[in-house]
């Protein structure tokens, strides 16, 4: 029995070494996947996302902000650095990694909305996997969700169930973080979401993180602007809810001396031909919005 247990332990140690080596190799491969998430993380972690105008937020940044239009209006480089499927706590990690490996931007555009303080979910977690063993990444993640960090760090096992082959396409999917489609898939206005899905919940810990982020960006000498992007059907949303959200971010922007640009009710918000679904603009819509945003940035003297 003792011999069996010794053999089992030595096999286990060898197995861990094999899993670590296999994970290392697989992570190197997966990092080069042609999936928007991976491309953006790859750019950020390798310093290739360096830009003058950094646009931060969730997936709406990636679909709504078209860098060529912003670049041509502002005369500066821009990068749509949204984190697909995740709220501010993960966006903050993205910003931390950007700061560590890329040039300091002139301007940071931060998207804000009802869901800014949402909870971390398991949605689209695979985008983090190839970088989980970066010590800074790991520590940041561990602070916000220790149990998920552990499960996403277990060598080799963390890739279980993923269709890795499907992550590789013939060409790169994003362009300076931007990716989009022509046709719309779902056409429900956001006003049809339930009250609990639309609700704006302020969580003290996350709000504190957001506030310290605003202070940090200002202290770094980076100009900052808060932006509320358009939503399809937002004019039909409950007026008191919309007013609460606007007031909240207006108050924060005044407190920190940051401009607040509210596009939630811009004319294209009622035009379904501008949207993929209730949340994301399509190619046509993104060009219109990007043009408005870039011109407003110039007019405000932010660059």
């Amino acid at each position: 029995m003792t011999f069996f247990l010794k053999k089992l332990c030595s096999f286990g140690i060898l197995l861990i070494a094999v899993l670590l080596a296999a994970d290392y190799c697989l992570s190197k491969v997966v990092r080069h996947a042609d999936e928007p998430n991976f491309e953006i993380w790859r750019d950020v972690m390798s310093g290739e996302a360096s830009t003058d105008i950094l646009i931060s937020g969730d997936s709406r940044v990636n679909t709504d902000c078209y860098p060529p239009v912003i670049d041509s209006v502002t005369g500066l480089r821009s990068y749509s650095c949204g984190v697909i499927g995740h709220h501010f706590t993960i966006q903050k990690i993205r910003y931390d990694m950007y700061k560590r490996y890329n040039e300091k931007p002139v301007l940071l555009v931060q998207f804000v909305d009802n869901w800014l303080y949402g909870s971390i979910s398991k949605y689209d977690y695979q985008q983090f996997l190839p970088w989980m063993w970066n010590p800074y990444f790991l520590l940041d993640f561990f602070e916000i969700d220790p149990s998920q960090t552990v499960s996403m760090s277990i060598p080799w096992y963390r890739y279980h169930g993923l269709s890795i082959r499907d992550m590789f396409h013939e060409s790169r999917q994003t362009r300076r973080g931007y990716y989009n489609f022509d046709k719309y898939r779902i056409n429900s206005p956001v006003s049809r979401l339930s009250d609990s899905d639309l609700a704006f919940r302020i969580k003290p810990r996350k709000e504190s993180l957001f506030r310290s982020f605003l202070s940090e960006v200002s202290a770094d000498g980076i100009k900052l602007v808060l932006v509320m992007a358009p939503l399809y059907g937002s004019s039909e949303m409950p007026e008191d809810l919309c007013e609460n959200i606007r007031r909240y971010f207006r108050d924060i922007s005044e407190e920190y001396g940051i401009p607040f640009l509210d596009y939630s009710n811009m004319p294209l918000s009622d035009d379904k031909t501008m949207f993929i679904d209730g949340f994301h603009l399509n190619r046509k819509g993104s060009r219109v919005f990007s043009d408005s945003l870039a011109n407003d940035i110039v007019n405000l003297g932010l660059i």
Binding site: F4, K7, L15, L19, H160, G161, R165
Partner: protein
């Protein structure tokens, strides 16, 4: 708790350590611990199921003692044995078949109205397996093949032993019960072989069965919308899904038992390398087919009677075997289909032609053997389609759809990635099982002497199995029986 769950990964080492290090010195305590651990394992689904298994165990144990005490009064012993059989089959029938018969009755005589007659009882996991296992004990005592045990703990351990509790092998009292009656000594080579067998079982379940299941479920979920080629592809994949699922479970069960010094019977002997249907049934779900042979077929006269009677006995066995799998006409039809395939062989005395493994001592089968294997597999796969279908009409739609091809180009289905990748893994499984077809399982490693090569194979299998593992993966198919 299933074998492919993370909770089992924690459960097994704890039970293993307690079994050998804490309870290993006293046989009675060790058996009691087996019962406790097994009841925790089984009760994880639903603690209410424990009441039924306890009743079955107690009644069978008690009837064994009563039968033995009446051994001089055969009539009384027969009544006690019959009572025990009726009670246990009654419980099984109530939970598994009552609603089926009630529904059928309602369809025939009440215009399909089932108000107030259906019980909608949840089918306890593994009830078909442990009921038969308990029955085999009392019948063996009645026949004088085994002496009853006075040790109730030993008997409870025999019925509830967790590795084989929910999906077999259906053990015989003559094999398993005595193992709980004597001291178990830890055997290093047996334990290592057990781990290898478990690894092979996990590979089959996770990499083959679960992945084929995704494709199969999609196709069977929309049969009218599928091309003939896709239906054929799904049929073939289901044949491998059910084999990998069930034999994978059995390998994990047998391998786990080896860790505890218990030897369970073999349940699968590479059935898809069979040269005819009779050989297939000697290699598929061996524990069930031998159970029916010994406790139903032979008492009915077996093959030692007139040809019409042999035909009737064969038909009955296959129909009952089909019905054992579930309360649905598809299972009965499946049984009838196999009976029709089997009858010509048994009536012509050719049912015991192929007793040893195919191509012994050769690397490849002969041309004739290859075609025999292919034909047998094709016939079995046709049966699996009936087995898999939700209803006879769905099975019929499947077969009609198979004949419907829009163009020969549909054959490209077999070269698309979603089929091809699965086919590659199936080919690897078949290759391994072909090489080790004379051994107990695919990872016996008897011909691999160099440790580095053995370890490389283990690591490769582990890496692939982990990568394909899905937390939300479907349960084992045979749990529903």
């Amino acid at each position: 708790m299933t074998f492919n769950s993370l909770i089992f990964a924690a459960f097994l080492p704890i039970v293993f350590c307690l079994y050998w290090f804490v309870f290993g010195r006293n046989l009675r305590w060790q058996n009691a611990f087996v019962v406790a651990a097994s009841y925790v394992f089984y009760g994880w689904w639903n603690w209410k199921f424990l009441i039924l298994i306890a009743i079955t165990s107690f009644c069978s144990w008690g009837s064994g003692l009563l039968i033995y005490n009446c051994k001089d009064d055969r009539r009384k012993a027969r009544w006690i044995s019959a009572a025990n059989i009726i009670l246990n089959l009654g419980i099984l029938g109530l939970f598994k078949y009552y609603d089926f018969f009630a529904q059928s009755f309602a369809d025939l005589f009440l215009g399909g109205k089932t108000d107030g007659i259906l019980l909608n009882l949840i089918l306890p996991v593994g009830i078909s397996f442990y009921t038969f296992q308990a029955l085999s004990y009392s019948i063996d005592v009645y026949r004088g093949k085994i002496e009853p045990t006075k040790d109730i703990v030993q008997f409870f351990a025999y019925v509830s032993f967790f590795p084989q509790l929910v999906a077999g092998p259906i053990e015989r009292s003559t094999n398993l019960l005595p193992q709980f009656g004597r001291e178990r000594v830890f055997d290093y080579s047996q334990a290592v072989d057990g781990l290898r067998q478990m690894l092979w079982g996990y590979f089959k379940k996770i990499v083959i069965a679960d992945w084929c299941g995704i494709y199969v479920d999609k196709v069977f979920g929309d049969i009218p919308g599928q091309s003939g080629a896709k239906l054929i592809a799904a049929g073939i994949l289901f044949a491998f899904q059910i084999y990998a699922d069930f034999s994978g479970y059995t390998d994990i069960a047998i391998g786990t038992a080896k860790l505890f010094g218990i030897k369970l019977m073999r349940n699968f002997a590479t059935p898809y390398f069979s040269r005819d249907i009779a050989e297939f049934w000697r290699r598929w779900h061996i524990s069930l087919t031998t159970w029916f042979r010994d406790y139903l077929y032979i008492p009915m006269g077996g093959s030692r009677c007139s040809k019409p009677r042999v035909a009737l006995n064969t038909m009955v066995i296959f129909l009952v075997s089909g019905f054992w799998h579930g309360a649905n006409w598809t299972f009965i039809a499946w049984g009838a289909f196999h009976a029709l395939l089997f009858l010509p062989l048994i009536l012509t005395g050719n049912n015991r032609k192929y007793k040893e493994i195919v191509a012994p001592g050769r690397i490849l089968p002969s041309f004739k053997e290859f075609w025999q294997i292919l034909l047998t597999f094709s016939l079995v796969t046709i049966g699996w389609v009936i087995f898999r279908a939700d209803s006879l009409s769905q099975a019929w739609s499947f077969f009609v759809g198979v004949c419907h091809w829009n163009s020969i180009g549909e054959i490209s289905v077999f070269f698309k990635d979603d089929f091809l990748i699965r086919a590659v893994w199936i080919a690897i499984m078949l290759f391994v099982e072909w090489i080790d077809r004379g051994e107990e399982h695919g990872l016996s490693m008897r011909g691999v002497r160099h440790r580095a090569i053995r370890y490389a194979i283990y690591f490769a299998v582990i890496l692939v199995t982990i990568l394909y593992f899905d937390d939300g993966s479907p349960k084992f198919i045979y749990f529903q029986f």
